[in-house]
Symmetry: C3
Subunit: 343 residues, 3 copies
C-alpha cells in the first residue's frame, strides 16, 4: 500500500498539518514509529512520543496541543481512535475473504445455508441448522443440531455451538469459544453424591455480539442464557446458566458470572472480576479488575472495586491503610499501654 | 409434549394441590412463568414469585407454606429440586440420541470400540484406544493413543484427551476441555533458562466425573493426576500435575489448583479460588469465591474465605472494618494527638 | 524397562550409595514409593519420606545429609531435579514418535512443509504457510494463512493459530491454545454502542517458548504481540494485544495481562495474577499468586504480593493484622471511650 497524508486526510475528513505529500506504506505504534509509516495518538499516556517518533504521519485529536516542535505530519480529526478504527477497517476489508465450502466438511442434508457462506474444512453443521447470508464458519467449528446463525456472523476455527442455540446477525465468535455447554447444576443426595440436573434450555446471542477466544457460555437449565445486543466479551470469560448480560455491556478477560444473575446495560467490567449468582447489577455499573460482587447493585452508574466491592475511591484509600496495618497495630498497642499507665 | 398436573404428580409420587387437569406443554422459570408451563420453587429467594407467576403448575417442597393465595396448581414433593431434576432427565432422555460412526472420522485399526458407540465426524481415535459401550464421542474430539474410556461416558465436541489417560464410566466431558496436557515443570539452569521436565505420567478420571468446558487437567510428571469418583468440575478450571481431587468434591468455574496438592472428599469450592501447590485440604472443606489457600487445611468441615483464607464469618467482619480503615486511621491519629497532649 | 542403580548412576554421572545391583523397572513418587521403582528427593518438604519409602533407588542432591538410616539405595548427583529431568527426557525420547501426513488432512497447495513433518488427521494448513523440519502438527490443529513455524516445534491437537502469526523454533503449544485472536479493541460511539477496531497485527512467538492448554494470546492492533525467547506460559493464561513478555519469564496458570503492557526478562508470576494495561514490569520481578498489578514496576528484582501489590513480607504482615481487624476496631473504640473519659 502507498498513500499520501493528503489522501488519508480526505478519507477521514481530517486536516493536514505539515507535508500533504508525506508518504506512508505501513502502520506502526507511536513509540516505535518508523519512516514511511502512519500512527496515531489517542491515549494521553503516549503524548511524549509524538515529539520523537519517526513515523511519517500521526493522526491526532482536534483538541491536541503541541508543547514542542513535531517532526511528523499531523492529521487532525475529531476523534483519533475512531479515525484509526475507520482506516483499519478499510484495510481489513481490502484483504482477501474466504468463501465457498471447503472439503472435507460435514453439512447435514437438513441444514439450510444462505448466500455467500464460507464453510471451512472439518467444520460440522448439524441437522436443521439455519445459516444466514455472508456467514463465515471457519475450519473445525461445530454447529449443533437446530442452531440458527444470523447474517454476516463470523465463527472462528474450533468454536463449539451446542444444539438449539441461537446466534444473531453480525456476531463474531473467536476460536475455541464454547456456546451452550451444560449449566453446572447438581442435586446432592443423602450420600453426598451429586445427581446431574439435565440442562434443557439454550443460549441466545443477540446481534452485534463479540465473544472472545476460549470463553464459555452455559445453556440455561430451562429457558435461555441471554447475551443482549452489542455486548462484547473478552477471552476466557465464564457465563453460567440462566445469566442475562444487558445491551452494550463490555466485560474484560477471565471474568466469571455465576448462575441466574442479571447484568444491566452499558456496564463495564475489568478483568478477573467475579460476580455471584442470583443477583442483579444495575445499568451503567463500572467495576475494576479482580473485584468480587456478592450482592445486588441497585443504584445505577456506580464505580466499584475490591472483593467484596466498595466505592473505587474508598477502595484505594482503604488499600493505602492496609499496607500500613502493621504500623497501625503497633501504634494502637502503644496507645493502649499509655492509656493503661494513665488509668 | 402435553401432560396434566395429575400425570406429573404420578411420575414424581407427589400430591396435587389445585386442578389435577391443569395442562402443561413446556417449562419456564418461576419469575417468567407463562400459561401452560410447568415451573418449580426450591430456592427461597424466589418465593415471592409463586404468588404472581402465570405458570400453570409449580413443583414445591412438602414443607412450603403459602402466605397468600396462589393461582397456580401446586405439586408437593419431598424435594422440589430433585423432582425437577428427575423430570428434566426424563425429557432429556426422550430426545433423539446420536449413534453410529459418522464419516469422515479417524479410528485406528488397533482401537477397540464397545457396542452402541457414537463417533462424530472429524473425531480422532488413536492407537490401542479402548472405548466402552454406549460411549458418545462428539465431532472433532481427540482421543490419544492408549486411552481407555468407560461405558456410558460422553465426550463433547473438541475435547482433547492426551495419550495414556484413563476415563471412567458415566463421565461427561464438555467441549474444549483438555485432559492430560503436560504439567508445568521446568528446571532452571545457571543462565536463567528453563529446561522442560518431560511429563511421563497421565490423568485418571474415575466414574461419574463431570468436567466443564475448556477446563484443563495436566498429566502427572510421574504417576497420575487423579480425579476421584463423583467429582464435578465447572468450566475453565485448571488442575495442575500430580493433584488429587477427592470423591464428590465440587469446584466452581475458573478455580485453579497448583501441583501435587491433595484435596479431600466432599469439599465445595466457589469460583476463581486459587489453591497452592504441595498442600492438603481436609474433607468437607467449604471455600468461598476468589479465596486463596496457601497452606494445608488440617481440620475437616471448615468454611473459609479471603486471600489468604480465614474463617468466613471473620472474613466478612474484617472486610466490614477494611472499608472503614481510612476512618479508623484518622481516629487513631487523633487519639495519638490526644494522648501526646495528656502526657 | 530394567536398569540397575549402577547403570543409572553412570548415565547421570552420579555416585551410588548402597546396592549397585538394585533393580528398577518403573518410576514412582517418593511418598508412594514401590519396590523396584526409582524416585527422587529435591524438595526438602518431602525429606521425611526418604526414611520410609519402599522405592528401590532414590536420586538425591550431593548436599543431602541423612538423619536416620535409609533402606533405599541412593544416587548422589549435583542437582537431583535436573538429573530426574534428564532421565525423564531419555524415557520420553525412547517413545514412538508420530510422523507423516495422516488423511484426511487439509494442506494448501501453496504451503511449504519441511522434512520429517507430522500432520495429523483433520489438521488444517492454510495458504502460504511455511513449516520447518521435524515439526509436529497434531490432529485438528488450525494453522491460518501465511503462518510461519520454525523447526522442531510441536503443535498439539486443536491448537488454533490465526493468519500471519509467526512461531519460532523448538516451541511447544498445548491443546486448545489460541494464538492470534483479535485484540479486545472497540471505539464507543455517542449511543453507547461499541464499534470494533480491526486488529491487523499479529503474534510472534520466539524460540523455545511453551504455551499451556487453552491459553489465549491476542494479535496486535498494529505491529506484534511478542513472546520472547524461552518464555513459559502455563494453562488458561490471557495475553492481550500488543503485550510483550520478556525472555525466560515464567507465568503460572490463569494469569491475565492487559493490553500494551511490557513485561521484563526473568520474571516469575504465580497463578491468577492480574496485570493492568499500558504498564512496564521490570526484569526479575517475582509476583505471588492472585496479585493485582495496576502500575509500572520500575525497580528490578522485587518480590510482590496482594492486590494492589506490595512487598511480599509486608503483605503477609498486613494480612495477619487484617484478620484481627474486628478486635483492633473494638480496641480503638474502647481507647476512644477511655480517652473521652479522661478528657
Amino acid at each position: 500500500m502507498k498513500f499520501t497524508a493528503g489522501q488519508i486526510a480526505e478519507l477521514l475528513n481530517g486536516k493536514v498539518e505539515g507535508n500533504e505529500e508525506a508518504i506512508v506504506r505501513n502502520v506502526s505504534k507511536i513509540e516505535e514509529g518508523k519512516p514511511e509509516t502512519l500512527t496515531f495518538l489517542a491515549n494521553p499516556k503516549y503524548s511524549q512520543y509524538i515529539y520523537t517518533t519517526n513515523a511519517e504521519v500521526v493522526i491526532v485529536n482536534d483538541s491536541f496541543e503541541a508543547e514542542k516542535e513535531i517532526k511528523a505530519t499531523l492529521i487532525r480529526v475529531p476523534n483519533a481512535y475512531e479515525a484509526l478504527a475507520q482506516l483499519l477497517e478499510m484495510y481489513e476489508q481490502s484483504q482477501p475473504q474466504k468463501t465457498g465450502i471447503e472439503q472435507p466438511s460435514f453439512v447435514s442434508e437438513s441444514a439450510s445455508l444462505g448466500d455467500f457462506v464460507y464453510v471451512g474444512a472439518f467444520a460440522y453443521i448439524g441437522e436443521n441448522v439455519t445459516i444466514g447470508d455472508n456467514v463465515k464458519i471457519y475450519p473445525q467449528a461445530y454447529v449443533g443440531d437446530n442452531v440458527k446463525i444470523g447474517d454476516n456472523t463470523v465463527i472462528y476455527p474450533g468454536v463449539k455451538v451446542y444444539k438449539n442455540c441461537v446466534i444473531g446477525k453480525a456476531c463474531t465468535i473467536h476460536a475455541g469459544a464454547v456456546i451452550g455447554s451444560d449449566g453446572f447444576g447438581f442435586a446432592p443426595n443423602s450420600e453426598n453424591e451429586y445427581k446431574k440436573v439435565a440442562q434443557i434450555g439454550n443460549v441466545v446471542l443477540n446481534d452485534h455480539v463479540e465473544i472472545g477466544a476460549n470463553t464459555t457460555i452455559d445453556r440455561a437449565t430451562m429457558g435461555s442464557t441471554v447475551i443482549q445486543k452489542g455486548v462484547k466479551l473478552d477471552n476466557l470469560i465464564q457465563v453460567a446458566h440462566n445469566v442475562e448480560v444487558g445491551e452494550n455491556t463490555v466485560i474484560a478477560a477471565q471474568t466469571g458470572v455465576a448462575g441466574s444473575t442479571k447484568i444491566g446495560k452499558n456496564c463495564m467490567f475489568g478483568g478477573q472480576v467475579g460476580i455471584g449468582g442470583h443477583i442483579n447489577i444495575a445499568d451503567g455499573t463500572k467495576v475494576g479488575a479482580q473485584a468480587g460482587i456478592g450482592g445486588t447493585i441497585k443504584k445505577e452508574g456506580l464505580t466499584l472495586m475490591g472483593s467484596p466491592v466498595i466505592d473505587v475511591k474508598l477502595f484505594y484509600k482503604a488499600s493505602a491503610v492496609f499496607r500500613r496495618l502493621p504500623d497501625l497495630k503497633m501504634q494502637v498497642d502503644q496507645l493502649q499501654r499509655d492509656m493503661d499507665n494513665l488509668k
